[in-house]
């Protein structure tokens, strides 16, 4: 695969080339394309077929720019920068050429934006509004091809296709699973599938994100929402230990789509199908919405104060055994670890699925985002609950005991800090406290390589649910260990002070791309 990282890994000894783009001076390493150099200068040259993660095709001819003294317009994606070059993106000649390309791209396009999922985030729409003609001079009948199911999560709406071949190149050069091709020639050309093959590769749905128009659309998201109705939050995919950077898109407080967010250190521009489609649990409607307390043998809703008081009483003088979900944030796991006692966790397992073209990127067997964080916080992996006695308090921290027998907990007191309270365990619970899931709070996960990454709140929590770390902060106050944490970054600051793996980190330094823990950096250097 070519440099998917947008040149961020450039060696220092590389020769730098200085040029001017749209009047802005810029200096970039030798061999950089004009298009990438323009990005560095803050100029977006319109383009379709070019994508930094794919081999250059140079076929859409949209990125034609004027290079001083050159007789012909230059395609910015395949033209390397030269010393002293003067590049103009918006000369009359370049504008006319791109207007011509846009007109040609639209002559057979169905212009069905009102029913197209891509509308609002469509580069064909955007550039047409920006640089295209007001009308079309095309008077002939439009070409028509039927919609085709490409398998997996992908539908091909042939008529909208501009044949940029990003999808073909992704499957060939990144997924190493050449399922797609360009079939036929001339204006009959379409994206085709090789006989008997489907887009079933574990990372195939990335072609939907790569498609600059509405030709490749997600079956899962089909006709579900308009792009402009969505609220977007930077997040981390919670579904395996890879920790792909993602964008959670919600509509009226419901997650409707998860998409990858570029991060050269973790997931390039990609996200696997399992991760992106496994979001429905975030929207569960059978949530535990208020604190519950066993009163006279039955669970009854109470306010937070009374529930926390009861929890503090139950914990006093007892040994806490915490069965935590490895999908909890570092902040929550850190607060749980400070209860003392013993911490354990279980992880759902699944088959690994690497993306061949990107080093160290795979859907991992451990299907939870924060296994590494849990281990760093002193939690140990287990398959069963240890033997418990009357002196023990079992805290179920977002682990609902699924697959285990709640009766085996025996005489120990059971406190739930959960997003749900399944009927199977409700009978055995003394206190149940509602907490938020990862999409309803802010926090950090640590991926399997020790990369610490922030996620933002994407939706509002249900009922009286609170972040787990916040509940524990209150609980500690009642146990005479006051910790004045009001926002997640304060908890992270405390974690950073007490755990060397997080030393020197803060929400500010993590930013949106995260940082590797010191031990990981050392490991990589050796």
């Amino acid at each position: 695969m070519p440099d998917a990282l947008g040149g961020s890994m450039m060696a220092e000894h590389e020769k730098m080339i200085s040029l001017t783009i749209e009047g802005r001076p810029v200096s970039v390493p030798e061999g950089t394309s004009i298009l990438e150099a323009a990005k560095a200068a803050g100029v977006l040259i319109p383009h379709y077929c070019y994508h930094p993660s794919l081999p250059v095709a140079g076929v859409c001819r949209m990125c034609l720019v004027d290079v001083e003294k050159a007789p012909k317009l230059a395609p910015a994606c395949v033209t390397a920068v030269a010393e002293g070059q003067v590049v103009s993106v918006r000369t009359e000649r370049a504008l006319e050429a791109r207007k011509g390309v846009l007109e040609m791209l639209l002559i057979n396009h169905p212009l069905d934006c009102p029913i197209c999922d891509q509308a609002g985030e469509c580069e064909l729409q955007d550039y047409t509004y920006q640089e295209g003609r007001q009308d079309s001079r095309y008077r002939e009948p439009k070409r028509f091809n039927p919609v085709e199911d490409f398998g997996g999560d992908v539908v091909y709406v042939t008529n909208r296709c501009i044949l940029c071949t990003r999808c073909v190149r992704f499957m060939d050069d990144v997924a190493h699973d050449p399922v797609l091709n360009v079939s036929e020639r001339g204006d009959r050309a379409v994206i085709g599938k090789f006989e008997g093959q489907d887009l079933t590769h574990a990372w195939a749905a990335n072609v939907v994100d790569l498609c600059p128009v509405g030709a490749l659309v997600s079956k899962d998201f089909l006709n579900k929402a308009r792009a402009w109705e969505l609220d977007r939050s930077a997040s981390i995919c919670p579904n395996c230990t890879q920790g792909c950077n993602s964008i959670i898109e919600t509509r009226e407080n419901m997650v409707v789509r998860m998409r990858p967010r570029a991060n050269p250190d973790v997931n390039s521009y990609f996200m696997c199908d399992y991760g992106r489609l496994n979001y429905r649990w975030i929207n569960r409607q059978d949530r535990l919405e208020q604190p519950m307390l066993r009163i006279d043998g039955a669970l009854a809703p109470v306010d937070w104060e009374r529930a926390l008081g009861a929890a503090a009483t139950a914990l006093r003088g007892k040994r806490a055994v915490v069965l935590a979900s490895p999908m909890l944030s570092n902040e929550s796991l850190f607060m749980l670890s400070r209860l003392g006692g013993r911490g354990i966790f279980r992880v759902e397992q699944g088959p690994e699925a690497p993306l061949e073209g990107v080093p160290d990127l795979a859907l991992r067997a451990d299907r939870a985002a924060n296994v590494r964080g849990a281990e760093q916080m002193g939690f140990t992996r287990t398959a069963s609950i240890p033997a418990l006695g009357t002196d023990d308090v079992l805290i179920l921290a977002d682990d609902d005991l699924a697959g285990l027998d709640a009766a085996s907990v025996g005489t120990a007191t059971m406190i739930v800090l959960g997003t749900t309270l399944p009927a199977e365990i409700a009978d055995h619970v003394a206190i149940a406290l509602p907490v938020t899931n990862f999409a309803e709070e802010e926090g950090t996960f640590t991926n399997l390589r020790g990369h610490v990454q922030r996620f933002m709140q994407a939706k509002a929590p249900p009922g009286l649910a609170r972040p787990l770390w916040y509940v524990l902060a209150d609980l500690r106050a009642l146990l005479n260990q006051p910790t004045a944490y009001y926002i997640a970054s304060e908890v992270f600051a405390a974690l950073s002070e007490s755990n060397p793996a997080y030393a020197g980190m803060s929400y500010e330094t993590l930013g949106l791309r995260g940082l590797a823990t010191p031990e990981t950096t050392a490991g990589r250097a050796s």
């Binding site: 001819r61 395609p75 390309v101 007109e103 040609m104 501009i162 360009v182 001339g186």
Partner: protein, 436 residues
């Protein structure tokens, strides 16, 4: 495929000398006619010396672009530690051109010999002859010639006993015009879809299988043995008009003319005399209206322009067109120019590889407009649209296929505008009414 016509006294048969001579097909027959002496001579020479002779002869590419052959060979740097390749472009698909077909049909050993000499000159051990998929007979002939050459030890591990390795592989295309574009041909040879590649890198730097490659046309390579045998001065001496165009050139003549066929003349031959004397002039009762002198991709000439043209690279440019591949298409006054131009555009629309937007969409769009005008449903605005589409299709794409489509449209509208306007104002094809 017809039998070649008897050579006209004003022709200068060098390449076409043995056309129609079945005995020249076999290796033994070819040797009797002086074959493989040039190769023997070449294998005893330093590669650079061969290149120097070809440079000196002034031989230029006969495929269409007219690039000096010796200079092209000199781009292949010896001793770079990489395998070099020679590809012989026998994908002759330019409408109106059928000279390479005849060279391969009658003198396949000339091509094998040319390949072997060129391969030696550029430091290549392997040559590929990429033959157009529809060329069944030339394919058989070439396969047989290569088989014989291997059997006689002319090719192989120990070519002509010199210890040098020379391999020639004949590869059959699958029927795509675009595979005649040299970078598309390389993709096709590699087993990929025949899409032109972006240049740079040029083939001499990274070509076939990513290695330095030279691509030469059949006619170019077939001329090389003659140059070696007779010397560069002899070849350079064959020039009637401009000293930059040397040697003989095969012209394929077709269309509304009395004696269509292949004609070999010295560069710089007067085009008017060529059409009248050698090719027999127009059909009885007709007169020439338009001439496309170099295959479908070059600008159309009016009969008057053609009359005053000298048949060489510079002469055709001066005459408002290009030498191209030497495929002369003659159109007389009984033909509808709109229909002819629409037919050409339809060809390019059919053959576009579909990579570049302007070509994929523009060739098809232009075709639809032209066919609509031909059917009497055009408007005056359509002519402006055609010219603007053509402008968008020119100089903006990876290869020149879309430029080639635009060329006859632009020159056709410029030179025969009144015919277009007659279609539009009369709402029908005027030629059709004349015939009725």
């Amino acid at each position: 495929m017809g039998f070649p016509h008897r050579s006209h006294p004003r022709e200068t048969p060098v390449l076409s000398k043995h056309f129609g001579d079945v005995d020249a097909l076999t290796l033994a027959g070819w040797r009797q006619r002086g074959g493989y002496r040039a190769l023997e001579q070449a294998l005893a020479m330093e590669p650079a010396a061969i290149t120097a002779i070809v440079k000196e002869s002034g031989l230029r590419g006969r495929g269409g672009a007219g690039f000096p052959t010796g200079m092209k060979w000199s781009f292949m740097k010896p001793g770079d530690g990489k395998p070099h390749y020679l590809a012989c472009n026998a994908d002759e698909s330019e409408p109106g051109t059928f000279k390479d077909r005849e060279i391969m049909r009658w003198t396949p050993h000339a091509v094998v010999e040319g390949c072997a000499i060129a391969a030696h000159a550029i430091g290549a051990e392997t040559s590929y002859v990429y033959i157009r998929g529809e060329f069944t007979e030339p394919l058989l002939r070439m396969n047989e010639a290569v088989r014989e050459a291997y059997a006689e030890g002319i090719l192989g591990k120990n070519a002509m006993g010199t210890g040098k390795r020379l391999d020639v592989h004949v590869h059959k295309g699958a029927g795509a015009y675009i595979c005649g574009e040299e970078t598309a041909m390389m993709n096709s040879l590699e087993g990929r879809r025949g899409n032109p590649r972006i240049k740079p890198p040029f083939p001499a730097v990274a070509g076939l299988f990513g290695q330095p490659t030279t691509i030469n046309n059949v006619e170019t390579l077939a001329a090389v043995p003659h140059i070696l045998t007779n010397g560069p001065e002899w070849y350079k001496g064959m020039s009637l008009s401009n000293p930059k165009s040397t040697g003989t050139k095969l012209f394929s003549v077709c269309g509304n003319i009395r004696c269509p066929g292949n004609y070999e003349v010295v560069m710089g031959f007067p085009f008017g005399e060529f059409l009248r004397d050698l090719c027999g002039g127009p059909l009885p009762g007709r007169r020439f209206k338009a001439i496309i002198p170099g295959g479908a991709s070059v600008p159309i000439q009016t009969a008057e322009e053609a009359e005053a043209t000298m048949m060489d690279y510079e002469g055709f440019i001066a005459g408002g067109s290009m030498l191209g591949s030497g495929g002369v298409i003659v159109i007389d006054d009984a033909q509808c120019m709109v229909k002819q131009i629409a037919r050409l555009a339809r060809f390019f629309a059919h053959e576009s590889c579909a990579q570049c937007t302007q070509c994929r969409e523009g060739t098809a769009w232009a075709t639809k407009i032209l066919e609509r005008i031909e059917a009497g449903q055009g408007t005056m605005e359509d002519l402006d649209t055609l010219l603007e589409i053509s402008d968008n299709m020119t100089g903006k794409t990876i290869c020149v296929l879309s430029d080639s489509c635009a060329t006859p449209i632009v020159s056709g509208i410029a030179k025969f505008r009144e015919e277009f306007e007659a279609h539009i104002t009369g709402k029908r094809c005027p030629m059709r009414s004349a015939a009725a």
